[in-house]
């Protein structure tokens, strides 16, 4: 390709030849075929145009001979027309197509987590040392009764509508088998079981091998209904209705046919090689009363033994939407912010639709309290929860628990190259090619996920202890534990917090 359609590669492969021992690991490990050994010259050569900067070669090069750097071949500087914008125009002028990308919104929009600061005890009450004192992070998700009842002997009736019990306020959010590999799913399922939390099937059905992890599985019903059948609904601990996703509010999932091999085909109940394109809306839900019917249908189908989660993207009117969901019979509302990840989304939608999860969470929690229905539902938030500090801030704003997915795939090896949609994930995560999927050993994957969550749990305990709180429920909605920095009055009002120093 040359002429008007030629775009200089984004990245350059820097190989320090004095270090290269010609082991050819880079060549063998790059599914994009960037590296090639030339026996005549006895050297490795690179085709940078194929490089996505996934860092697989860098990570495996035994002599640290490689690095990938951003190309300095730039267009003339222009604060309005930046290089990416111009190149997207070149691409669309050449192809006539919608731009696709993956993972979460990379734009420099405000990250409110980073503008929230956490409190600690000084003098007037003691901090608590989690190494020496009990520190509780257990959470129950589900509807709580408004009024207690007693039996004829005056004993409390202790039967509750079904609840999910989490050992820490974090779950792995929806990623379908199809968008991610069998081994990625195995890692998530095993880690969730080991940790005492849950992972989510996403809209891809549940592989028959994973039914045994059912007590720690949330099964998802989305607009395409892929893989949904009676056993599937029965298999999980909870059922999630996916109305929307933070990375692409307003549209459905899209799994390219190339990723639909025999196993994915059987699990999704669709023909091999066919594109799995979910409708934008649920075609049986055009309004809130329709949602109510689906919630109750799923409850009836599972004899009211499983809580139902309704997942929505954070959009402008989220507080009213959440209020409607809370009255629809749903037990849990999951809200996904505009930084949420995805395996494939139209770039414009990913980058321009939806609102930040921090603001959505704060306004939903407050609205549900204003209406006195906060205990009708639990609130789970996702869409770029990046650390234990984000979890603590989310809980203090009012979340019962968080969903993580990008952080989880990072733990599995993802280097955020944002090319999941190609299906050639060198880390064995977002791929269905057996030789690539093999690169993720679930023994390692499950262990790393467990390590990450264990580390977060310890940090959550440290932060809680610093605040003098020894149970996560005393942190939930405890907004006095937060202060804002560099936020304007509207932001502070929506977040329901004071500015630092106040």
């Amino acid at each position: 390709m040359s002429g008007i359609n030629y775009i200089y590669p984004d990245f350059e492969v820097v190989r320090r030849d004095e270090r290269c021992i010609r082991c050819r690991v880079c060549e063998r490990q790059c599914a994009n075929e960037v590296h090639r050994f030339d026996p005549e010259r006895d050297m490795l050569i690179s085709d940078e145009s194929k490089c996505v900067n996934c860092q697989r070669c860098v990570s495996l090069c035994p002599t640290r001979a490689l690095k990938i750097v951003r190309s300095d071949c730039r267009l003339r500087e222009n604060a309005n027309w930046d290089g990416d914008t111009i190149r997207e125009i070149y691409k669309q002028a050449a192809s006539g197509g919608v731009l696709l990308s993956s993972m979460g919104n990379p734009k420099p929009l405000p990250v409110y987590w980073d503008k929230l600061l956490i409190n600690a005890s000084q003098v007037t009450n003691p901090s608590i040392d989690p190494l020496r004192e009990p520190m509780e992070t257990r959470v129950f998700l589900g509807k709580k009764p408004e009024k207690l009842t007693r039996d004829e002997n005056g004993k409390l009736r202790t039967d509750l509508t079904p609840q999910l019990e989490l050992s820490l306020p974090v779950m792995f959010s929806a990623m379908s088998y199809g968008s991610i590999s069998y081994n990625a799913h195995a890692s998530l399922a095993r880690a969730a079981t080991e940790l005492g939390t849950y992972y989510n099937t996403g809209e891809g059905g549940l592989h028959e091998d994973f039914y045994r992890y059912g007590p720690h599985t949330i099964v998802q019903v989305a607009s395409g209904r892929f893989g949904v059948h009676e056993d599937f609904l029965e298999a999980g601990a909870a059922i999630e209705i996916k109305m929307g996703q933070g990375a692409k509010p307003g549209i459905g999932g899209h799994l390219p046919g190339a990723k639909v091999g025999p196993d994915v085909s059987r699990t999704r109940m669709i023909p091999e090689g066919s594109d799995a394109i979910s409708p934008a809306p649920h075609h049986d839900i055009y309004s809130i009363e329709d949602l109510r019917q689906l919630v109750w249908s799923l409850k009836e189908a599972t004899e009211h033994r499983k809580p139902v989660i309704v997942k929505v993207a954070a959009v402008h009117n989220i507080a009213a939407i959440a209020s409607g969901i809370a009255r629809s019979g749903a037990d849990i509302i999951a809200i996904d912010g505009f930084r949420g990840g995805t395996g494939a989304a139209p770039t414009r939608i990913r980058d321009h639709v939806g609102i930040p999860i921090e603001l959505a969470l704060a306004s939903v929690d407050q609205r549900l309290r204003d209406e006195g229905i906060r205990n009708n539902v639990s609130l789970v938030v996702g869409g770029s929860i990046r650390s234990s500090a984000d979890v603590v801030k989310a809980v203090a704003l009012g979340a019962d628990a968080c969903y993580i997915a990008t952080a989880a795939v990072l733990a599995l090896g993802c280097h955020l190259c944002r090319t999941c949609q190609t299906g050639k994930c060198n880390w064995g995560i977002a791929t269905q090619q057996p030789e690539l999927a093999r690169r993720l050993n679930p023994d390692i994957g499950a262990e790393r996920l467990t390590n990450l969550m264990t580390a977060w749990k310890r940090e959550i305990m440290e932060l809680m202890g610093g605040m003098g709180i020894n149970s996560i429920e005393a942190l939930r909605g405890n907004r006095l534990m937060l202060r804002g920095v560099g936020l304007n009055d509207a932001e502070l009002r929506i977040l329901g917090i004071s500015h630092a120093g106040e």
Partner: protein
């Protein structure tokens, strides 16, 4: 700008003390005042107060509203509202003594009143709920008026000052109660305000509290869903509302309420017998946001009894003792000795262990 009490969160360290006669025998306020003297250092002169139960036998079927007014205008506005809301039987200034230690007092009045039956019937609420709403209405909407006591046959007396002076100021030796609680305040922010002193009361619930809870805003934002409004931003206020909600509105027993407020740790619950375990799990699961964490020792007063409770880590001191039919509770043993030098069975309740004392059945309250 200097903020007034209620406009900012005002945590306090404190001294608490209480006595109850299990035979329902009346005691004057002198002893409870004595008990606060050895704990002088636990207060800083920015708040002291007392609650006495059984002090208004001649009006025991009427709600006794104790109200602070910033001036005559507030009183007139409030009284106009009260006349529309309640049947007022008696209105009077609460007698006080002028002493150098207590200054800047507001107008302090009490009203003996009862809701109109017809109003209760049309609103479909009982008299307690109605009075609670009246109190909330005055405290939220009538500027300069603050109801600080609203139960039957009981009353709260509080002021800015050291508690032993507050007792003298209110002439507590002239009142006879079968149970008394007392509080000395050490607010971490000035200014202390008369309404912000303890005990905090709603209906016949009174709370004296020592500590600074870390769960405050989680508790506040939860309880405000149920019609309460935390106007003072103090721990004691939110604890009182939680007690009212759990005990009166949800009908929990004192022990069950303690299992919510100072819930045992999950691993403690797991070791309890099956029936108890299920109940405790249920309470923690249903009322997660009413768990109180951080240091507290509280004495909850109510008609016919007292409940003392520490946070589950016991981060604040609190001891109990007995002598004859009397039970004593205080931050320090010295306070108990000041009331009863021969007190026996000195005991430090474990964290989260409620100590509940009731006047024997059949005794006149």
């Amino acid at each position: 700008m200097r903020l007034l009490e209620g406009e900012f969160r005002n945590p306090s360290g404190c001294a608490i003390s209480a006595v109850i006669s299990r035979n329902g025998e009346r005691m004057s306020g002198e002893k409870i005042i004595e008990s606060m003297k050895p704990m002088h250092e636990r207060s800083n002169g920015l708040g002291g107060g007392f609650a006495g139960y059984g002090i208004y036998p001649e009006y025991k079927d009427l709600f006794a509203l104790h109200i602070f007014f910033s001036g005559t205008k507030a009183r007139e506005e409030c009284e106009a509202y009260l006349r529309g809301a309640l049947e007022l039987v008696k209105a009077e200034v609460i007698p006080t003594r002028t002493i150098p230690a207590i200054t800047d007092e507001p107008l302090i009045w009490r009203y003996f009143a009862t809701p109109l039956r017809s109003v209760l019937a049309s609103m479909q609420v009982d008299e307690n709920e109605y009075i609670a709403r009246v109190v909330m209405h005055i405290n939220i909407t009538i500027e300069g008026a603050y109801v600080f006591s609203s139960g039957k046959n009981m009353g709260v007396f509080k002021a800015v000052g050291y508690p032993e002076d507050v007792g003298v100021f209110y002439r507590l030796e002239e009142y006879e109660a079968y149970s008394w609680t007392a509080h000395g305040r050490y607010p971490t922010n000035t200014p202390g305000w008369w309404g912000g002193a303890h005990p905090f009361a709603l209906l016949d619930w009174t709370v004296v509290h020592n500590g600074e809870i870390s769960s405050y805003d989680a508790n506040r934002r939860c309880i405000e869903m149920y019609g309460y409004k935390c106007t003072l931003q103090t721990d004691t206020e939110v604890i009182t509302y939680i007690a009212d909600y759990l005990l009166r509105k949800q009908g929990l027993s004192l022990e069950e309420a303690a299992g919510v407020i100072a819930a045992p740790f999950w691993d403690t619950i797991a070791r309890r017998p099956e029936a108890e375990r299920r109940e405790l799990e249920y309470l923690r699961t249903v009322f997660p946001s009413l768990l109180i964490t951080g240091p507290f020792s509280i004495i909850l007063g109510f008609t016919g009894g007292l409940m003392a409770l520490n946070d589950r880590l016991k981060l604040r001191s609190m001891v109990t003792a007995e002598k004859g039919d009397r039970v004593y509770i205080a931050s320090e043993e010295a306070a108990i000795r000041a009331m009863e030098p021969g007190a026996e069975h000195i005991y430090a309740p474990a964290g989260g262990e409620p100590v509940i004392v009731r006047v024997r059945e059949g005794c006149s309250l």
